[in-house]
Symmetry: C2
């Protein structure tokens, strides 16, 4: 970027919505991952028209542009690794329309996930995906990473709810994809080309989401198992039992120990815990689901099965579950937090395999995640200021990704690829699939101005 | 195609799996639409390798190839409008793997929809989409058109269940997309680029589908309304009531009359009927849903509300509903059958608008469809041997599509575009969206050998 580029951007967004202050640029060099790189400037566009002008300029002048929501990405997808301009979409935070009779909402990309849920609450509707960072993350980021959450087994992920998009293309043109209808088979599916594309194909400036009536009843239970195999078989049996639990979480022994020792959680000293929720419009439906779950737990020799008696007890269990991330993360200055995913029946193999990889290593680690859809979050704690630790931890991560792909798994269930998993893409995807992804990127962004360096698409 | 091309194909598939017989070519010139064009040859490949060799040849020698399932397309998407070779995938009809613990099945494209459901039945699982042609249509066609069905309001469409694909590209290379996991955010979404692409980007040779446990309980009811407005408001109120009905079908007066007069259906002489099903794992859940539905019907002045007392009574209602297509179709030699879709709340406007367009016209017509997801099937009966009738009916269709798009609708909810709706694509999609679709087509199929002439992508 040259001085005249900075001036041109300032002209477009207004002086007060543009910064090259060091303190700002340092902030924008990070996201939720361990990666960082400083941009040359950051702008806060007010609307689609401004973004369109900025992209016309960037495409002509060939400087990188990285769109950014709340910066909660776990993979470096929001890190401006090639410098250039960060577009912070914080000002585009309006809920444009809530159309309950049409079962949809239109939002700008900077709307915080929790703000949408709050706005929907009075109607009894909700946006079913539920990323862990929901209190702060933005819907633009959710769509760009195809975010998931603990209710994926029953309710799917963000992709399943995106009906239509407005997108600014790398050359500044503005395209409207999809339809305001519940379903459409009209032409090639441009909408889902942009869902999960991590800002490398276009900047999402308006989102139409399908919404659901919120289930009113739920049951929660927790069960402990003496072996991982039993817990794993219980997961499989639940998923085969004829119902879909709304949540089916697993925590292995390290996770349990960390919660007992560091969050004073009242948990038994066991090899695995399964935390489960069933739901429905009626108590009867939720209870029936829980009967099936309990039967599967009993059949697999659960040591203890404890059902929450009321909202308060169930909330206590979810609080424990939610504490895993921050409690474990505080054990060391840095952590490597992954979201490898395998076919449901292979969850125990992945768990055991990761435990084996970590055996004898000096690094604290936890493994927890969404067993109901095969998505685990192994998290390895280390000190990033020690280059040897960094090297060693990355070698461990290599092994985890190799194991995952050996089990027919995917590098990412819900976080995306970004920088962190770009080096592993060829473990999962065959060369031709990578070629096709690169062809798409090159075709839509021939000058590689949009979020370059991500997803192994630059080769 | 030259003689040497025919010989090369015969070499690949074997003499007995290749035909240029007139009787065969005539059969392959049609699908479920009014369009037809004869291919120069048809082949019945046994596997992916043969299709790959054929596409290498076609791409080199520049002859069109049209993949074909059961030929039930309503839009001409299976009609070889530019001649060339039809690839009938009938021999690729194996269910490769049923993995209940992993909640997925792997099938070849020629597997008949109903055959999959039958194979899944013992496990209590099902593939939730339910196209009306399910007894004969193939899963390859379902994926290629993003097929829907009457349960779309609650269970979505084919797109929502496709996890992974094997696809032969226009140049013969074979790519594997997606993952065998319940969810993945790993790279650009190649899988959904091919879903609904009607065979213009690649030939789908293997499909991995997510499956669901089948709900065990259901309630069915039918209600009559004195005005379309009341029925329309009842639909809106049901969709806002906090539950999702598994089926919510509407039939307007012409449809009701045709069923009474031509199928001896015991139906009242009213302006609109709503046929609804609620479901769940438990009777209580289905009954609760039905209470909400009945309340919405009563609040909107339903003349009669009749709940099916048992499976037999409910089956009787569904038999009546299923008879609409064939009964109305038999009134004249030809019919134009559409699947326009609008936001749910605009269903009454679309119904009234179509009735108005048809007012005073000499053509029998019916309008029915999936009100719960805004998808209507207007069907106009005429005699295709009379050029004036053909002209007039197409002018009426023009008006229906214009009205649909004026109501923020889509040309197709579940049938696709093919030839029938290609001329209307620019009513729904802005020029840039069409440009992007054409860019994708050109990028993946630069020689335009795969199903050319479809979806308005050749321009």
């Amino acid at each position: 970027m040259e001085q005249r580029d900075r001036e041109a951007i300032m002209e477009i967004v207004g002086e007060e919505h543009f910064t090259t202050e060091l303190i700002d640029l340092v902030s924008y060099s990070y996201d939720g991952s361990d990666h960082n790189h400083r941009p040359e400037a950051a702008a806060f566009p007010a609307d689609t028209a401004q973004i369109s002008l900025i992209m016309q300029l960037a495409n002509e002048r060939r400087f990188p542009v990285v769109p950014r929501g709340a910066g909660t990405s776990m993979t470096g997808s929001a890190v401006p690794i090639k410098g250039g301009l960060v577009l912070d979409l914080v000002r585009m935070n309006r809920i444009l329309e809530i159309r309950i009779p049409d079962r949809q909402v239109m939002v700008q990309p900077g709307v915080v996930y929790a703000a949408l849920q709050k706005a929907l609450a009075p109607s009894g509707f909700c946006f079913p995906p539920d990323p862990a960072s929901g209190k702060v993350c933005t819907l633009g980021g959710n769509v760009a990473t195809n975010a998931g959450g603990i209710r994926g087994a029953k309710y799917g992920v963000t992709r399943d709810y995106v009906l239509a998009l407005e997108v600014v293309l790398p050359d500044g043109r503005v395209v409207h994809t999809g339809s305001k209808c519940m379903k459409s088979s009209s032409g090639l599916d441009l909408t889902r080309m942009f869902v999960g594309s991590e800002g490398v194909l276009g900047i999402i400036t308006e989102i139409t989401l399908k919404i659901n009536p919120k289930p009113q009843a739920s049951c929660t239970a927790i069960a402990s198992f003496a072996t991982l195999q039993q817990a794993g078989q219980a997961v499989t049996d639940v998923m085969c039992s004829g119902i879909l639990p709304s949540v089916l979480e697993i925590m292995e022994e390290n996770t349990i120990r960390v919660l007992r020792e560091n969050a004073k959680a009242d948990l038994p000293d066991v090899k695995a815990l399964l935390l489960v929720e069933t739901d429905g419009y009626t108590e009867a439906e939720a209870a029936y689901g829980m009967e099936k779950v309990v039967a599967a737990f009993q059949a697999n020799g659960a040591d203890t099965i404890s059902r929450a008696k009321d909202k308060q007890e169930s909330e206590k269990l979810w609080t424990i579950r939610r504490a895993v991330g921050s409690t474990s993360g505080s054990l060391r200055p840095n952590n490597l937090s992954e979201d490898v995913t395998v076919p449901i029946s292979k969850v125990p193999q992945l768990l055991e395999g990761i435990q084996k990889i970590m055996q004898g290593q000096p690094y604290p680690f936890v493994i927890f995640g969404h067993a109901g859809d095969g998505n685990l979050h192994p998290k390895i704690m280390f000190d990033g200021s020690d280059p040897q630790q960094v090297r060693e931890v990355h070698l461990l991560a290599d092994k985890v990704f190799q194991l995952t792909c050996d089990l027919e798994g995917t590098l990412s269930g819900e976080h995306g690829i970004g920088l962190a998993k770009a080096p592993y893409m060829n473990l999962e995807h065959e060369p031709l699939a990578m070629d096709l992804m690169r062809l798409l990127k090159r075709t839509l962004d021939p000058n590689n101005v949009l979020n370059p360096g991500k997803m192994a698409l630059d080769g």
